[in-house]
């Protein structure tokens, strides 16, 4: 897929009462299909940018289009039918079964008084299978491990049945294995034609698994495009204010030659502070 999913034109966003823009004058195109990673230091505007992408925040100026139509003219329901979203850190106050959590993804497709149809239940089942969560579908959500819970949230976003999937730091708090498994799951979903966009702090995994990256710094999009082209040691060092080397992965297999991000352990005296 090479069509454009999102087109972002001169978009700025400022929180009410703030003295500076959280996102400043961003222009970019996000291609459909594949995995796009949004990178940048804390407070760089990544999460705000994600909120703009799914219409949870309206740009202070500029325009965000999804498949050629401005998000500003969409209802929340229409957006939810097009774009699945996995937010950062959520916790239900009441106990829910895994299946009930995933069934919530059907919300934008159901009228107020309408009962779920066989089709809804089928899509919920498929979503559970897609993330390998079907075996524990009837367990209470709160009894799952962090990695399992995250997979179930992804299943909920898949049940929305949109063409794109947006995730805000989906691997925060997960151990190495679960983090890599989750990335692999997202890669798999992208290989079936879904557009996957995620925010992450894991530079080394993003550099090896993302097709494209957007690199943010202080609200500005400093670079975007092909992962290997954007992620250079000099650029990352400048953006993160910490010396970072980018080497080529020694292999084996498909990873060979992909960029590998390695932060240094000590900063030289002349390291620029952010």
């Amino acid at each position: 897929m090479t069509d454009v999913a999102w087109q972002v034109e001169r978009v700025s966003f400022r929180h009410p009462g703030a003295s500076r823009d959280a996102v400043r004058d961003v222009t970019c195109k996000l291609a459909g299909g594949g995995v796009t990673a949004i990178l940048g230091p804390n407070g760089a505007g990544k999460s705000t940018f994600v909120r703009l992408l799914i219409g949870l925040a309206a740009p202070t100026s500029g325009i965000v289009q999804f498949h050629g139509r401005s998000l500003g003219s969409w209802t929340r329901g229409t957006i939810a039918r097009e774009i699945g979203f996995v937010p950062q850190g959520e916790e239900s106050v009441f106990p829910m079964s895994v299946r009930e959590v995933v069934a919530m993804g059907r919300y934008p497709h159901l009228g107020p008084w309408r009962a779920e149809t066989e089709e809804d239940r089928r899509l919920v089942r498929h979503a559970l299978e897609d993330v390998d969560a079907f075996p524990f579908a009837d367990r209470p959500f709160s009894t799952l491990s962090g990695g399992e819970q995250q997979r179930v949230r992804i299943a909920r976003a898949l049940a929305q049945h949109g063409s794109a999937l947006v995730l805000d730091e989906p691997t925060a708090g997960l151990d190495v294995r679960h983090e890599i498994e989750l990335f692999a799951l997202l890669r798999g979903l992208a290989s079936y034609g879904r557009t996957v966009v995620l925010v992450t702090h894991n530079l080394s995994l993003a550099s090896r698994l993302a097709d494209r990256v957007l690199l943010f710094s202080e609200g500005e999009l400093v670079a975007h495009g092909d992962t290997a082209a954007v992620l250079t040691g000099e650029r990352l060092t400048r953006v993160y204010g910490w010396p970072i080397d980018v080497v080529r992965h020694p292999g084996p297999g498909e990873e060979a030659g992909r960029p590998l991000v390695v932060p240094r352990l000590t900063a030289p005296v002349e390291a620029p502070r952010p």
Partner: protein
Amino acid sequence: MITTASLVRRYLLLTLLLGLSAMLAVRVGAVGLSLSDIIAAIRGTADSATRTIVVGLRIPRVVLAALCGAALAISGATYQALLRNTLAEPYILGVSSGAALGAVAATVFGLDRLSPWIIPAFAFAGALAAIVLVLRVALVAGRVLDRRTLLLAGVVVGAFCNAAVLLFLTFADAESFRSAVFWMMGSLAGATWQHVLLLAVPLVIASVVLFGFARSLNLLAVGEPTAAALGVPVERVKYLCFALASVLAAAAVAVSGVIGFVGLIIPHAVRLMWGSNYRQLLPSAALLGAIFLVAADAAARTVAAPTELPIGVLTALVGVPVFVVLLRRRDD
């Protein structure tokens, strides 16, 4: 997994239980009645004294108890999702304090002698005024309906109303004092068909609409960003559901005084038995709340007869142990 068949079975069972407890509740009281007396009274073939007791006193009282229980349970369940707080209940945003202030003011100034509708009217107005005040205070403090700000505003407005109630009571004569305090403890004595109608209309409208928003409430309980991302028009839904839950609570308080505990415990009992999905929780809680309050009122009339116990005392005395048992079962 809850199947449609098991859901139908559950609703049938609860409806049957409601019917049984209602029948029992009509039979017991100062004058014990047999089933045939009741049927005769409804068909109009009984003597006029029995007819008055059954059709004029007992049945409206039992029906009002059922409606109050349903209204309080639905209101409490809705507040719990909107405020994302397991301790939320129908009176948490000052509805009861506002209603008490209205009712006590009417009593102390002797207005209640003008018409039997003065107290319900003042209580209802007081409850709605308290809710509007809470929303105003919350809006001053924050931009949107933030649940923490709302809770704080509810506590503040409730405290203010309670202080005003105490102030009024300080200057009340003994008779007004006694009737005001009894009103605040909640009672279904004096229930009439007009009371029933007064509560039935808002109850039917609010429960139908809130059932339509059951899935939205599920999502709001998870979190507002999630709800918005999944397509819920968050602010609109919150305002509407707050309004409906508050009107339900206000209408229930207006006709029955402050009956605590039902709105807090019934939704939790449903959760412990059948889970938290509001599509099944709201109807189940309505039925269970109705059963609970019908039974509690029947007990309140008979346990210490001829003295009638305040129903709020009974709901707590019976409800707490039952709830503890449910909690224990959950841990096993």
